[in-house]
Amino acid sequence: MKKIVLPGDIIADKPLRLDHTIVEEGKTCSTVIGMFDEAAGSLIPLEGLWYPQPGEKIVGIVEEAKLNTDVITLNAPYKGLIISKFSETSMVNGDIIEATVKELDKTGTIILVRPRVLYGGKVLAIKPSKVPRLLGKNDTMIRQITDGTKASISVGMNGLVWVKGGNSDLATDAIIRIQEESHVSGLTERIAKMVGSTGQPHQPQPQQQG
């Protein structure tokens, strides 16, 4: 049974080790507005911020390209930093890039590695709490959209999404719809209907003997 919980709601009478919760007087309380699944024991925030983890992929915009370091805007309470001497990618101010989080240092700066410049296209900003839903289990949801619309999409865990080519307008609509309806079950089927794809990996067609 899924239900909406709000900050301060007691979700269990025993201490649980769960993200977005605190334990007070032996009881587990939610700290955000989210969907709590009692059977699965999971709390998924409906609104929320991005808490960077090493290894996550991000999409950012180059704010200041300098000789040794490049400062990246991430639409988050943290600044991204690329140390240029470790990367051979050259970038200029305003470039859209894709990179991987290496670490979050104590001053609230994220060290990024393996940058790649994304040319053309457009960037959408969605709520970071909806990114896991946009990707889907084993990336099924995003694969549905790319298959159906033939657009190139790069999803950053910070909530920025880069879209280019194909039917990018339909892809944009689908992404926004996922953000709005992420908490309602049956979303995968609705998106499949919208973009006209099942999201299943393509089965190789048996070649006809001739």
Partner: protein, 249 residues
């Protein structure tokens, strides 16, 4: 405080000037997220009060000397619009009263927000009173609490605030402008509904210790109604989408 020479009768036959009983709240309506650019926002209509609250952040705290390397700092700004009241409010912006209310509001939320998660950042809370009719600081805290929850900033609890006062030797809850001006006492209180912790307690006028206890009980009881309205406001946008697909599920 008004002039006691022309003091009106505030309670006649157990009813107040606007027809309420002493323990009755005004009509409250809250809308979550009316402002698109903010991280979270809320609009409250509490009787004739109309208040807008918006939350921005966590973002880099500027100027840099305000940063705290261990936790986020909370900045709060309560202002009344020049056209908000029947009386002249003079120049827009902060005056002595607004600075005080900003401070007490900030202290309410410093006790509630998990600030240690965002070192070096700031969380800004803006409360703008568009129309006032008494009890705006309580309504502002109630509204800002919804705005913070809507923004997804982690909080220990969702506080509400309401004031209790005394008129004609009767304790009355949620005073409006006239009652506020001519009453014997006014006590705004902000409480965490889960833990019953008091985050704000100010008092103006005279109350006996027994009256303070009884007033706090009245506030706890009224808090159940206010908390329910806050919760419904936050859940409403999600339930609206649910309704749309109810038939198909």
């Amino acid at each position: 405080m008004g002039n006691s020479a022309n003091k009106p009768e505030l309670i006649i036959d157990g009813r107040r000037l606007d027809g309420r009983t002493p323990e009755q709240l005004r009509q409250i309506k809250i809308t979550a997220n009316p402002i698109r650019n903010a991280a979270g926002s809320a609009f409250i209509e509490w009787g004739n009060n109309k208040i807008l609250a918006a939350v921005y952040g966590p973002r880099e705290a500027l100027p840099k000397h305000t940063q705290d390397p261990n936790r986020a700092v909370i900045k709060c700004r309560y202002t009344m619009a020049p056209f908000s009241s029947l009386e002249e409010h003079g120049r827009p912006g902060m005056n002595r009263r607004a600075i005080e209310i900003s401070k007490v509001t900030r202290e309410v939320f410093e006790n509630v927000i998990l600030t240690d998660l965002f070192p070096g950042n700031e969380i800004s809370i803006f409360i703008e009173v568009l129309q006032s009719d008494g009890g705006t600081r309580a309504a502002g805290i109630t509204c800002a609490s919804v705005a913070l929850a809507a923004s997804g900033i982690p909080m220990r609890d969702m506080p509400f605030a309401v004031s209790v006062g005394k008129a004609s030797d009767t304790l009355i809850i949620d005073m409006n402008k006239i009652e506020d001006n001519y009453s014997n006492a006014d006590m705004p209180v902000a409480i965490n509904p889960r833990t019953k912790e008091i985050n704000l307690l100010q008092m103006d006028g005279e109350l006996t210790p027994e009256e303070v206890h009884r007033g706090l009980e009245m506030i706890q009881k009224a808090g159940e109604t206010i908390t329910k309205i806050q919760r419904e406001a936050l859940k409403a946008p999600y339930e609206k989408v649910n309704e749309k697909y109810k038939a198909s599920i």
